[in-house]
């Protein structure tokens, strides 16, 4: 029991650190990707290739003046970014970061906890995530913040539905809600045992999930809650110093976790092609698998940024039309199709 708790505690610490590090370097990557897509170089002054830029940014955030507006609701004003950060960090608990390691005959699963309702847990925490934005936006007592908060909540609710429906089609196929089992079902991939990733069987579901993930993370083209051309800064207009930093950081953590969930659900998680043909020991395959998993995550983070610097944001009515009139019918159609196909072929 003690040994298990120690192991889980260490794993929690590692994942916490990795999450923060990835989020920090996502800010750097965002600026670099933006620059490269616009034929620029991007930050290159802090350290070699600007690699120390996140540290500089963090230090800047800490030394900035902390402003809490006089007319704001102070408790909620502080609660807002804390909630955003908390919910962002909570999701990583159920993500299977790797398969099992066998050390001294003991089994070490590279996942903090394998809930049997793993996907739903991710959903639950994501649906709570909007409170950070709403509470912060409302308590600022600023009309732009309020509009940002309201937009965020309406958008999140709209896209959560189609996201859930997209997942239901996947669950119809896998028959489990546990993220680890979904990962294990996709083991093999290309190679001797022909077992393709879920994205092959659920292309429409993947597309819907991806679009909804963009909306849930408040990323362009759905970043209307912080639409700076209309709302100054949206829900974080009144925030300064590290509180603003926490909001921005939470967004990058959400992006990281979304990428991890997308990779797990649709792209085989920690599995990689030819994994059974290499003739390696299972520990090595686990380590390489975790590497592949992070590779997939990095690709999706890049994809998030790539999209951000490619297309402009939607108008709000377009966003709502897309959510309610396109995504939900498509998702329902996807469920029906999946049900039909699984009925016919089984």
């Amino acid at each position: 029991m003690i040994a298990l708790l120690t192991y889980k505690g260490i794993l929690v610490l590692i994942i916490f650190t990795v999450t923060l590090a990835v989020a920090a370097y996502s800010t750097y990557a965002e600026r670099k990707v933006a620059a490269f897509l616009q034929d620029r170089i991007g930050p290159d002054r802090a350290g070699p290739f600007g690699l120390l830029q996140p540290l500089a940014d963090g230090a800047k955030f800490f030394f900035k003046e902390e402003i809490i507006p006089n007319v704001s609701n102070k408790t909620l004003f502080i609660l807002g970014p804390s909630l955003a950060m908390l919910t962002a960090l909570m999701t990583g608990v159920v993500v299977p970061w790797g398969n099992t390691l066998w050390l001294d005959g003991k089994e070490y699963v590279l996942q903090i906890t394998d809930l049997n309702v793993g996907i739903l847990y991710v959903f639950g925490v994501a649906s709570i995530g909007v409170y950070g934005i709403m509470v912060g936006g409302w308590s600022s007592n600023n009309k732009f913040s309020l509009i940002g908060a309201i937009r965020a909540s309406a958008q999140m609710i709209s896209y959560e539905i189609s996201m859930g429906l997209a997942i239901i089609a996947l669950i119809l196929m896998t028959g489990t809600l546990s993220l680890r089992e979904i990962s294990l079902q996709q083991a093999g991939g290309v190679g001797s045992d022909w077992n393709l990733w879920n994205v092959v069987y659920q292309p429409l579901g993947f597309l819907i999930f991806l679009v909804c993930a963009f909306a849930e993370c408040n990323r362009t083209p759905f970043d209307l809650p912080e639409c700076e051309t209309e709302l100054v800064g949206g829900y974080h207009t009144e925030y300064s110093s590290m509180k603003l930093g926490l909001y921005l950081f939470a967004e990058y953590i959400n992006m990281f976790i979304s990428s991890a969930v997308i990779s797990t659900l649709y792209f085989g998680g920690f599995n990689f092609p030819f994994m059974n043909d290499l003739g390696l020991s299972s520990n090595w395959i686990t380590v390489i698998g975790t590497g592949f998993f992070f590779g997939k995550i990095v690709f999706f983070i890049f994809f998030f940024m790539w999209i951000r610097w490619t297309i402009p944001r939607f108008r709000y009515d377009q966003l709502m039309n897309l959510g309610w009139k396109m995504m939900i019918p498509l998702a329902i159609f996807n469920i029906a199709l999946t049900g039909l196909v699984s009925l016919v072929f089984k």
Binding site: N73, L76, L115, N116, V117, L120, Y121, F123, G124, A126, S127, I128, V130, Y131, M134, V135, W138, L146, A149, I150, S153, A154, M156, I157, E160, L177, D317, Q318, N321
Partner: protein
């Protein structure tokens, strides 16, 4: 251990439920209600019903309360424009509440103590699904019809009169 967790969760649930009623600020009320929901979700987990707990959080805390908060934020309730209630209405409310409480207490006192079936896979999705589609099929389907009826009703209420509105600004070709 479980007992202490139970006591803690119950305390949080009851305390925040009371704060829902006693908070002056409606936003605080909503936030305390969310805390209450979380405490209740904790209770579900203690009963080994993870699915119910997570769905509870998603549906109540994640969707319904967001809408509550949404509406209250838009209403912009202040202390000044809170309508003053007449004494008669207050007395009526107290009497109604008292009667409801009497009924609830009476029912709970009369009920025989049920022994909750804990342990095993009672709260798992598979078990729950099997029970829903065998033992409780009729209530399940009826509730789905109820939801459908509510949905159709909302669409009917929310539908704009096409004869009155000639220009719909949301249509992209009319801009």
């Amino acid at each position: 251990m479980t007992l202490y967790v139970f006591y803690f969760l119950s305390f949080v649930a009851i305390f925040s439920a009371l704060l829902v009623v006693f908070s002056k600020n409606p936003i605080y009320s909503v936030l305390y209600l969310i805390v209450t929901f979380f405490a209740i979700a904790g209770h579900y987990i203690l009963l080994n019903a993870q699915f119910l707990a997570v769905v509870h959080v998603i549906v109540y805390a994640g969707a319904i309360m967001v809408l509550f908060l949404y509406v209250i934020m838009l209403l912009n309730l202040n202390h000044e424009d809170e309508p003053h209630k007449k004494n008669l209405a207050k007395i009526a409310a107290v009497i109604c509440g008292g009667i409801l409480m009497t009924v609830l207490v009476g029912t709970l006192r009369g009920a025989s103590q049920a022994i909750p079936r804990t342990g095993g896979d009672i709260g798992y999705v598979k078990t729950l699904g099997r029970i829903l589609f065998t033992e409780f099929l009729l209530p399940f389907e009826i509730s789905s019809i109820l939801l459908l009826a509510a949905m159709v009703g909302v669409v009917m209420v929310g539908k704009t009169d096409t004869k009155k509105t000639t220009v719909d600004i949301n249509e992209p070709n009319n801009q």
